[in-house]
């Protein structure tokens, strides 16, 4: 009998508020060290926190976007542990009365749709950043550490999933969908590389068909969606090997090593887990009444799953709809292109095909333009009405991306417009036919293969700009 993985994911998302969670310091990334600080976020003696109301609203937006219930009353708590980059040596977080509970997120994989429960969404504050100085910047080999408190106090949401995930692939799909949802909701930039979105995994194995949970291992330090999947795959293998050998899985926190592709146990002490939570006496409860909740719920933007459904109704196939709905930039370019008259499937194919390739090849950003909905609509119209060949269209797209102008202008400039005007083509066709009377005879005799040769002659004579469809029609009618 095989083992079934049971996985839950904790995701931390920094919010894109102007100011920090409990003080007026800027919450943005990349300021010179220790400049975005004040008595509150430095934990100076005497300072007191005050909740950023916008952060509460953003947290509510995430919660509602993940189909959570919003608690009518929630409170902050102090989570006590010592760490040098955490100024107060307690983190203001939420514990037994979080803002949002009981949600879910539907996730698509090749195997279908999976509903992953969301246990809770709660508010807390980020810590500062320690840089370990010494051998290779590794924590264990460092001689000392340098601390920058700019990030201390940045609003952080913790999103805790139920242990509903059953494979590393599902976990990957879950965080991909979650990231897409957060981006669509517009409350975080969810940049993995800057750490504004981070996740930890909890994983245990159990015999297939069993209802009981196995021993849980927490895996940390995955800094990409890909490494989350790899770390979970590694843990599944490691735990399977242990169980098959009859050895116990130890409940512990393990550290993912990206280079080695392995996890290893972290030094842990019993008291490390005694956080001594208690209600934060410096803050008063957050009370969300019906009106406030309704106002936020009504203003929620469309979520990826909803967009995907709508795209499928517009005629897209499932995988393409998933790709476009998960990316807010793709989604908005797609919608704009369709609104400008573009054919949905054609535009979608362009987006997921040539545009994606271009984005990968160059440092093109969709959000910044110049490839926008209008240009894609125009491009797709030019292809479908025969003015551009498929291959010429790729050149035009590259030209648009390079900032040469809108598609028609680029095509003109690069001399890529197909000639499909009969009046313009007729003299050329006549010339070709006159020079190839034997080929015409073969065509009349029913040898259809020869038409390709004739079309080729016309294309050569027009420098490749003739519309092959129009040319074919002309030859047939003239050959009679």
């Amino acid at each position: 009998m095989g083992y079934e993985p049971v996985i839950g994911i904790e995701t931390h998302v920094e919010l894109t508020t102007n100011s920090k969670m409990f003080c007026g310091c800027p919450a943005d990334f990349g300021a010179p060290p220790n400049t975005n600080t004040c008595p509150v976020c430095l934990g100076l003696p005497g300072a007191l926190p005050v909740v950023n109301g916008t952060a509460v609203e953003y947290a509510m937006i995430i919660g509602l976007g993940l189909n959570c219930e919003v608690a009518p009353r929630s409170i902050f708590a102090r989570k006590n542990y010592f760490y040098p980059d955490m100024p107060k040596n307690y983190q203001i977080s939420q514990y037994d009365q979080p803002l949002c509970v009981n949600g879910h997120l539907d996730v698509e994989t090749g195997a279908g749709t999976h509903r992953i429960g969301i246990t809770r969404v709660h508010m807390e504050e980020d810590t500062g950043k320690s840089t370990h100085v010494g051998e290779g910047g590794r924590i264990q080999a460092a001689s000392h550490s340098l601390i920058d408190f700019n990030r201390a106090g940045v609003p952080l949401m913790e999103i805790v999933s139920e242990p509903d995930i059953r494979s590393a692939e599902q976990a990957r799909a879950f965080v991909t969908e979650l990231r897409a949802a957060v981006l669509r909701l517009g409350v975080s930039d969810a940049k993995l590389e800057e750490g504004s979105m981070r996740f930890d995994g909890n994983i245990s194995l159990r015999l297939e068909g069993s209802e009981a949970f196995g021993t849980k291992v927490e895996v940390k330090n995955m800094n990409s969606i890909r490494s989350l999947q790899r770390a979970l795959e590694y843990e599944i293998e490691r735990q399977t090997a242990l169980l098959e050998a009859g050895e116990p899985v130890v409940q512990e926190t393990r550290h993912w090593d990206e280079e080695a592709g392995t996890t290893s146990g972290m030094r842990s002490k019993e008291e490390a887990f005694d956080y001594r939570y208690f209600p934060e006496p410096d803050l008063v409860p957050v009370a969300v009444d019906h009106q406030w909740r309704a106002r936020v719920a009504d203003s929620l933007p469309e979520l990826p799953a909803q967009a995907r459904g709508r795209y499928i109704e517009m005629g897209l196939d499932g995988p393409v709809a998933t790709v476009i709905s998960r990316d807010i930039e793709y989604g908005s370019v797609f919608e704009a292109a369709v609104a400008a008259g573009g054919d949905p499937q054609t535009v979608a194919n362009w987006l997921t095909g040539e545009v994606t390739a271009l984005v990968r090849r160059t440092d093109l950003s969709l959000a910044a333009g110049p490839i926008d909905g209008a240009s894609l609509a125009e491009l797709s119209a030019m292809v479908s009405d025969g003015r551009l060949s498929a291959s010429a269209a790729k050149d035009v797209l590259a030209g648009v991306a390079a900032g040469e102008g809108p598609p028609a202008a680029v095509a003109e400039q690069r001399d890529l417009i197909q000639v499909s005007d009969t009046a313009a083509l007729e003299p050329v066709v006549d010339e070709v036919l006159a020079a190839n009377t034997d080929a015409i005879q073969k065509l009349r005799d029913g040898d259809d293969k020869v038409i390709g040769f004739l079309i080729g002659q016309v294309m050569r004579a027009t420098g490749g700009k003739a519309d092959p469809g129009a040319v074919t029609e002309l030859i047939r009618s003239k050959a009679g």
Binding site: G43, G46, V50, P84, P87, N89, Y90, P281
Partner: protein, 491 residues
Amino acid sequence: MSDLADLTLAAAAGGLRSGDLSAVELLEAVHRRAAMTEANLHAYLTLDREGAARAAVGADAGFKRGADLGPLQGIPVALKDNMVTRGLETTCSSKILAGYLPPYDGTATTRLRAGGAVILGKTNLDEFAMGSSTENSAYGTSRNPWDPDRVPGGSSGGSAAAVAAGSAMVAFGSDTGGSIRQPAALCGIVGMKPTYGLVSRYGLIAFASSLDQIGPLARSVEDAVAALEVVGGYDPADSTSYPGAVPDYRSGLESGVSGLRIGVVTELNGAGIEPAVQAAVNRTLDQLENAGATIVQLSLPSVEYALSAYYLIAPAECSANLARFDGVRYGLRRLGENVEEMMSNTRAEGFGPEVTRRILLGTYALSAGYYDAFYGQAQRVRTLIIRDFQAAYEQADVLVSPTSPTTAFPIGARTDDPLSMYMSDVCTIPSNLSGDPAISVPVGLDDAGLPIGFQVMAPALGEPVMFRVAAEVERLAAFGVRAPLASSEVG
């Protein structure tokens, strides 16, 4: 009065406005007094002579321009050294903050500066406001101006001693379990803890956040009112600050107590109270009755549990509040092989025994498996105490008791027995748990010539009626005695 240092705030404020005296003269008189008394009293940790002189000159210039910034303009005030002052050493009487120069002013300090007050310096306290005698200060014990062999009370003992001795005209302290009222009682002055949330805690170095309140220590009820008017009122920097305007405290000061119901709390009178103290309180009650008040005897059964609840809640909150003193960003650092050792060495060395004890207590009370039995239960008891008070205020306008069960005790008498020290606060702690205002007014001396304080408690935001009764108690007691050390003959 011959010496300006002995003026009440009200008298000095009048003189400043009439031009009879200047803020500079007033400051000089107070500095002269401090020069005489400090060697004996050690009320101050830091005297900011230059800052005070600048403020006095500024206040006088303001008066000359006709600018009136309020009742504290030009008045020399002292701040307990747990109130953050920008660029002026703030230690909380702890080694762990030796030499600390805060980069900001707390809200109360900001309002005092804006109100033209002349900030004299920082007064001594029990380390991190934990104690009832100032014996827990890392920088030496302050002494009682009535008898230098005795404690001034605590934790705001330095503030109380300064006001009683004339080395400050008014002072601010903080009250977590009686830390303003008890030293005021022991030093024969008025000390007042406002309703929780009335004075911003922003810039008050936290001991127990849900109990701490800043309040005035003064030579009269009217002076306390004036001081509260300046620092009180809503502050958006403190989430637990009361929104809403500060009410008028003055209009009732002359109204007397006729028609008021005064409740004597059974649990806080009689048993455990020194006979001389109780006798003085009873005498005051008789006077109040003669003045037209109705005296009612009331029982608040859960108040018996207040001290126990307090010694769980306050240490628990303090264990988290004091976690930030870790040797990373400010204050003391002791070396260690790694950061954890550095923090542990710094904290072991930087905190004195009482603070260490409370951190340990609080850490234990919050730790896994004990939370509900200790901290959780203490908070439920707190609810019961609040309910008892609410019920009592249905039957009485104010409640009264002695402020402290005893008068000032000798230095060293209780240092070996934490519980007996904690008993000093048995009458004051309930108001901190309920969040209600309370004031101590001196009403007499015991046989040893030591002052006795009378406590008036009122419901939340009931300062107007509390001050009204306190003012009448003050008139009836006609205390009017000056501490023996508060005179130019002693030094």
